[in-house]
């Protein structure tokens, strides 16, 4: 650029956002991930997010990496450096760069000045020309271009090349040729940058020690692993974005950890069913027959499953449903995130129903809650939903390592044995004997003459005999409510964060909002606004939630859907005063940011002051 006009320069060490704009299917994903992991290996937390279209090849895809020494893993908003590799989205990509930020692009083909801005720093590198000179195979030219730019970036941002090479070594273990060519491409980029570009930039990386023993994993893989550890043996599923990778990961982990070394046989069965209805049907059948079973789907799949969910509720069959939520309604935004199914899952199916929901905040909790869901389903004999979303499920997130207590036994719930039946123990399939609303069940094939009964969705007496008598029906329905109250004591309890100074303000949030909320609470506190926070981890709500609302004057309810579904659930279930509960709603399909939350809360507080 010929501009002598002084432009601002963003300066930040270990605190900036780099966004890669690529064409999907071009091999950029692994190069971009390499970039993120290299910074991680230097001890600096990163939070990358995929923004991808509902397509396979040829459309735009973005990878937004927040580098954050302080460990704020929520999306920040704003872009400090754009790596613009997709001509199709050029204009929008350039417009997104914060003034004083950086543009890195392939300068092989010249572009008119009008395509740029005069308030950003432009770094051009003739990537195509460089690659065409070295590689002759078109696929190689395409793939290695990505590694070449990673090399250049490693110079510009001061990412240690040894770290990148070590990652190559791990990725291409045993494949010497691939390893060598990747290292070569890396240095091709580095050498050019060192010789022709100004480095380092204002934004750069410094080695730190802020990662500790955190792991870097996506929520769907974590949930799948939780299902393995939690003892699931049957999985039935139908492909849908963004949950397919749960089943695929389960398949992969089972292949590794569930094959009997002596017999070579599988301690699991996975069926890709013909649709979501068949998927949930298989889960119901397996759960009825005493195997821990789950399905993974998204909003549209749950809609299809609702009839079976109602059957599982009323006939009291253990069923685990992983709902990786996406933008609704209808086909909605298949590749964008939202928390849009809170009400449809809490009350799934016709008639008076209520279901247990778990809200993990990150992959660590996806693992823990998946195993917990399987236990709860067996204990409560009811559907349990693991409510994650695309943001947690399909992005790699830095989180606490997975943990498992080897002494922990599976809670298989109240299953009557042949011995108990033989001894004459009274068995009423739908009878409350312990006062917690949970009846005993028997599994098919248990005893030659005792314990059999007919399972169906129709009303019955406590001994599973068909009955249309009012009192029998009421007994059953009241017992189900009692069971749901028991559930409130068994599910993961909310986590409360008390502010530094006493305050009349509270905020309730859940799931993937959590990293943005942590950052927002911190930012608000530095501006003198103190807010107590409660992170819900499950529904039904224990008494502590009502108490939290009671002791605060205003409680913000932050969620990622249009209709304030969690707020509605709180009002409906706790008879909370709607006037006290202030909606903070973010639902454009992007992950919520701290800036958004802070702005909303300050705005409201400011209004009140006026």
């Amino acid at each position: 650029m010929n501009a002598r006009v002084p432009i601002p320069t963003i300066q930040a060490v270990n605190d900036f956002v780099v966004k890669f704009a690529n064409v999907n299917g071009s091999g950029s994903a692994s190069a971009n991930e390499l970039f993120a992991k290299a910074i991680l290996r230097m001890g600096v937390p990163v939070s990358p997010r995929n923004i991808f279209p509902s397509n396979i090849q040829g459309l735009p895809t973005w990878y937004e990496v927040r580098v954050t020494e302080q460990g704020w893993l929520g999306r920040r908003g704003g872009v400090d450096m754009m790596v613009a590799m997709n001509p199709q989205t050029w204009d929008a990509d350039i417009a997104e760069i914060t003034p004083g930020g950086y543009l890195f692009y392939d300068s092989t083909r010249p572009l008119p000045p009008s395509k740029f801005r005069d308030d950003i720093h432009v770094i051009g590198m003739p990537l195509t020309e460089i690659c065409n000179a070295v590689y002759s195979d078109p696929r190689q030219r395409q793939l290695f271009k990505n590694i070449v730019y990673v090399g250049a970036l490693s110079v510009l941002l001061e990412i240690e090349p040894e770290v990148v090479e070590k990652l190559f070594g791990e990725q291409y273990k045993g494949k010497e040729k691939l390893l060598a060519s990747n290292v070569q491409a890396l240095h091709l980029g580095r050498d050019f940058a060192k010789e022709h570009l100004k480095w380092p930039l204002g934004i750069r990386v410094r080695r730190a020690d802020r990662v500790g023993d955190s792991i870097f994993v996506d929520g769907n893989s974590a949930a799948a692993l939780g299902c393995v550890y939690g003892g699931a043996t049957v999985a039935a599923w139908y492909p849908i974005t963004p949950s397919s990778s749960v089943a695929e990961a389960f398949q992969k982990y089972c292949g590794k950890y569930r094959v009997d070394p002596a017999t070579g046989q599988n301690a699991y069965a996975i069926v890709q069913a013909e649709d979501e209805i068949a998927s949930i049907g298989m889960v119901v059948g397996a759960g009825w027959n005493g195997a821990r079973a789950f399905t993974a789907t998204s909003g549209p799949g749950v809609s299809l499953m609702t009839e079976f969910i109602g059957l599982a509720y009323f006939a009291e069959i253990p069923v685990t449903i992983i709902n990786v939520q996406r933008g609704g309604p209808s086909t909605g935004m298949p590749t964008r995130t939202q928390q849009a199914d809170v009400l449809s899952c809490a009350y799934a199916s016709h008639g008076d129903t209520r279901h247990v929901l778990l809200f993990p905040e990150d992959p660590h909790e996806c693992f823990e809650h998946a195993a917990c869901a399987l236990d709860l389903a067996d204990r409560l004999q009811t559907p349990v939903f693991l409510m994650t979303d695309l943001d947690i499920g399909m992005n790699q997130r830095l989180c606490r390592p997975f943990a498992w207590d080897d002494a922990k036994a599976y809670d298989k719930g109240k299953v009557m044995t042949a011995e108990e039946l033989e001894a004459g123990k009274d068995f009423g399939r739908y009878k409350d004997v312990d006062g917690d609303g949970i009846p005993w069940r028997t599994l098919p094939g248990t005893h030659p003459t005792k314990g059999s009964y007919f399972t169906r969705g129709t009303t019955r007496d406590p001994y599973a005999r068909y009955s249309e008598r009012g009192p029998d029906y009421i007994y059953n329905m009241e017992r189900l409510l009692r069971k749901f109250r028991t559930a409130a004591t068994l599910v993961p309890q909310p986590v409360v964060q008390v502010a530094a100074t006493p305050t009349r303000l509270g905020v309730i949030y859940f799931g993937s909002t959590s990293p943005a909320m942590q950052e927002a609470l911190h930012a608000l506190a530095t501006q003198g606004v103190h807010v107590d926070a409660m992170r819900l981890r499950a529904f039904p709500f224990p008494d502590s939630v009502r108490e939290f609302i009671d002791v605060h004057e205003q409680v913000f309810v932050v969620e990622q859907n249009r209709d304030a579904q969690m707020r509605s659930l709180l009002v409906n279930e706790l008879e909370a005063d709607p006037g006290k509960l202030v909606k903070v709603l973010h639902y454009d399909g992007t992950p919520i940011t701290a800036r958004f939350i802070t702005g909303a809360i300050l705005g409201h507080v400011g209004e009140k002051v006026q």
């Binding site: 046989q265 301690a267 649709d275 049907g281 059948g285 195997a291 059999s452």
Partner: protein, 351 residues
């Protein structure tokens, strides 16, 4: 009248099978279906078949959808666990139950509304998958429980009780089962127990997906002139392809036949289906020949019954999935949970 309990005692000389049960031990509650309903005959045939097969009643899981036929599991095998699921979705529940415990026998009872309309998809995919089950459709061409609407198996041109003519082409579940890979396909008639009982026995002993379409006239709504699923119509048009004897592996083979008179088909579990052929050119082990034969004869108005096709060595979904011989619902944490040491390795690989 299921509130009327059946007396538990029986005549002291009632015959006992090889596992020590009388026929009474295979019964269920008293039927609430209409007097003369074909489905009750099928229930009786199931009872007979299970008794003769020396199956322990509690080792059968009986599943059904919704409809008159789907009520019948309450009327047989009282010691078995039953599951009346939702309309058209019995196959998926049966599949899941089967995956959980491969050591039980699975009997799926459905109707033509349940399996040929709302359930057509699940029927088809269960056949494709080769789930080991005996799947019986009790086929009367109408929706009995909701009072007489045509079902998808009603023949084109047939008349409802009120005189309405059906203009839609019928779904032929037998033809579909053949096309989709079912390995035991038969058609029976509730009025012919002699044919039906061995058909059911063979299905329950079969190693893969067994399907039997049983024409079962609805005396309330579809037993009138103009119906193609009435007692009269079936008796007039019934063309049995063979007479079947089912010989369990433990029984002696009683009669001798001249070569060419019978086709002997030995199944995976050692049981034998002896088919005395009534049609010289009918080969029940050739799937495509069976399909062609059926189309030709059905075009002439014949209702083909009997064992239409069998692959005696068929295996099932468990074999395809290589699941453990020990039922999945019996496995414990030792076989299912990789443990904390493995988890540490996984954590390390994610840093």
């Amino acid at each position: 009248m299921t509130y009327i309990a059946k007396p538990r005692m029986h005549h002291p000389t009632l015959e006992v099978n090889k596992v020590g049960y009388t026929r009474r031990d295979y019964e269920g509650k008293i039927s609430t279906l209409c007097a003369g309903c074909g489905h009750d005959s099928i229930s009786a045939a199931i009872i007979q078949a299970c008794w003769e097969l020396d199956i322990e009643p509690h080792r059968v899981a009986k599943l059904s959808g919704i409809g008159c036929s789907s009520k019948t599991p309450d009327y047989f095998l009282g010691a078995s666990h039953g599951f009346n699921t939702v309309h058209g979705r019995m196959p998926s529940v049966l599949t899941g139950a089967n995956l959980a415990n491969r050591s039980l026998l699975y009997l799926g009872v459905s109707g033509d509304g349940d399996s040929a309309s709302i359930g057509l998809g699940q029927f088809a995919h269960a056949m494709r998958r080769g789930v080991r089950m005996a799947y019986i459709v009790e086929n009367n061409g109408v929706y009995g429980l909701t009072k007489g609407q045509f079902s998808a198996t009603a023949d084109s041109g047939s008349k409802s009780k009120k005189g309405v003519v059906n203009s839609d082409s019928p779904v032929d579940l037998v033809a579909m089962a053949l096309q989709l890979g079912a390995t035991y396909v038969g058609r029976g008639f509730s009025g012919n127990k002699e044919q039906l009982v061995p058909l059911i026995k063979g299905a329950m002993a079969h190693g893969g997906a067994a399907f039997i379409d049983v024409i079962s006239p609805c005396v309330a709504f579809n037993n009138h002139p103009g119906s193609t699923k009435s007692y009269d119509y079936i008796r007039e048009h019934n063309e049995a392809v063979s007479r079947i004897d089912f010989i369990s592996e433990r029984s002696e083979i009683k009669a001798e036949y001249a070569p060419g008179e019978v086709v002997d088909v030995r199944q995976h579990d050692g049981s034998l289906l002896r088919l005395r052929s009534l049609h010289a050119d009918y080969d029940p082990t050739d799937r495509y020949a069976a399909m062609a034969f059926m189309q030709q004869h059905q075009a002439r108005g014949e209702v083909l019954t009997g064992l239409l096709y069998v692959d005696p060595l068929a295996t099932d979904l468990h074999t395809a999935l290589n699941t453990s011989d020990k039922p999945l619902n019996t496995l414990e944490a030792g076989q299912l949970c990789p443990g904390s040491q493995v988890l540490e390795k996984i954590n390390a690989s994610l840093r």
